[in-house]
Amino acid sequence: MAMLLARKNLHALLRGAMEKKYRVVGPTRTAGIVLFAELSDPGALCLDELNTQNSIKEFFFPKSETLLTYTLGKKDVAIADDFAPPRTVLIGGRACDARSLVALDRLFGWDYKDKFYFKRREATCVITLACDRFDEACFCTSLGFGPRATEGSDILLVPAEGDAYIVEAVTDKGRALIAELEDVFTEGTPGAEKVAYPEKKFDLAAVKPWLERNFDHPIWKEEFLSCLGCGTCTYQCPMCHCFDIVDEGDIHGGARCKNWDSCQFALFTLHTSGHNPRPAQASRWRQRLRHKFVYYADKFGTEACVGCGRCIRNCPVRLSILDKLVLIGREAAAAPAPPAGAQPRGVTKRWRATTSIFRI
């Protein structure tokens, strides 16, 4: 016996949540694309697409978050920072989306705790949908988990034979929501799970040491020429978390905002002096790859990539991080790591200046 949710009861579940005054967020079709957005009614839910255009991070780390508001006096300033996010049920994310939350928890909770992120986390119950299909951009299995992983979800719905989802309550928050909306769930014998696993495409264990060793490598010059330098990949990424802090307002007052920012922008690291530590687009790509697979992994014990494939599907020039990881995996296999302790990694003998080595 298992807890089941009949597919036809999906709308009833959402209606129930709305009646209990939850904000319900899920995939919905707008202007020809499917986006995570607040649903005005259960019928707006759209599960046609494998993956939404935007990621769920927007509901934990919005594209522009007000950190405080200020009112300007003659000599004084009054500031306020009341913050109470709405109680939310977020449905229709995938295992990759949910996993990104666990990884982001570590960053936003590292030493200094970001209350904006965590209050939204606490107020949100995440109902994840295991995947019954995948596409060529999917690579969760290459990162060591899969389409029915429970990490980060409060409730996991696994599609099964018999037009139903098998319901797995993962956390207490999930169990509480199920108890609150118990009418829509049934007990029954589950049909076979319909879960589709993409094949493993590269060896993660080989990619990281290769990236560590090869800060300078012809790949950096050759493989990233077509990058346009937009922020699409990073903004649609569930894991990319870089931000800017800016003040918006007028002479009377305004708000200090935490806005998404992207390591792919030339101005991201530009110094006041005009010096730029990452002067070429390829050096920004190197940062993106190394940040995701080396720096983040070293600091937080998990990659800053969940294999959702959004950056690949959305890239205007189809510059695929997966292709590059596969390529690096091949390079790594062709040139295995030197024996441990042979030479301390990356110690500069000569002091060098940062220069653009990326021009053709």
Partner: protein, 279 residues
Amino acid sequence: MIEQLRQRARELLGEGKVALVIGHGRGSSPQATFPVFITKADAVDRLVFNPFCRNNLAVYLTRKDIMPKGAVGLVARPEEVRSVAVLVQEQQFDADRVVLIGVACAEPGKEGAACEMLKGRTLKELEAEVAERLKGRDPAQDVAARVKELEAMTPEQRLAFWEKEFSRCIRCYACRQACPMCYCERCIVEKNQPQWIPSSARPLGNYFWNVIRAFHLAGRCIGCGACARACPMGIPLDLLNAKVAREVKESFAYEAGFDHEVPPPMASFRTDDEQEFIK
């Protein structure tokens, strides 16, 4: 046709006339082509061309961090020819810096549509050839029709329409980065003294950004649609550009990218330009 294309690329690279050829390469499927950068004559087989080659490759010509010192060969559809015409007209580089390999597809985006080489070699010849090909044909009729739909609305309705469309904008600047004409060293949205355009992805900044970008392309946009295709949030940016282009055409009898030798319309004037709207 593809062999002719590769042959020209091979010659240009082999004879050292160009240091680099930018073209379209084959992706995981014929629909998924992407830009490729070829520096060696024996690598020209990576070049492909089909109706799905939609990236405007002229965007790379002003990228200082990757462009070689020497001349560049560019696989140029009518869109690239016109883009290069505007860039040369605006003195971003000399016409002889770019060797155009003219190509065209009868119906871009349509499976199996015929593709051919363009005959012209120089920018001037190609401009004329492209103008001839496009004569009497409006490749963006659906866009024009949607512009008309919007024009039929009241200003209030249009404001509400754009408010809703722009609300999705995440300020990733894919529109700008995909556009060959957006080559400014420092974009107006990055100027903060004063902060002309709020950088937060909120309604006001999003409105200012998208409207001003359309204006900055007045008389320059060649209507390739790269911005709208690049937009990950499905904002119909091509409508704004098409509207501006049509106004420029109606008011100044000018269309961008057909003649690099005339002055740009927004940097010139006629004493008898229309002025009915001025009291």
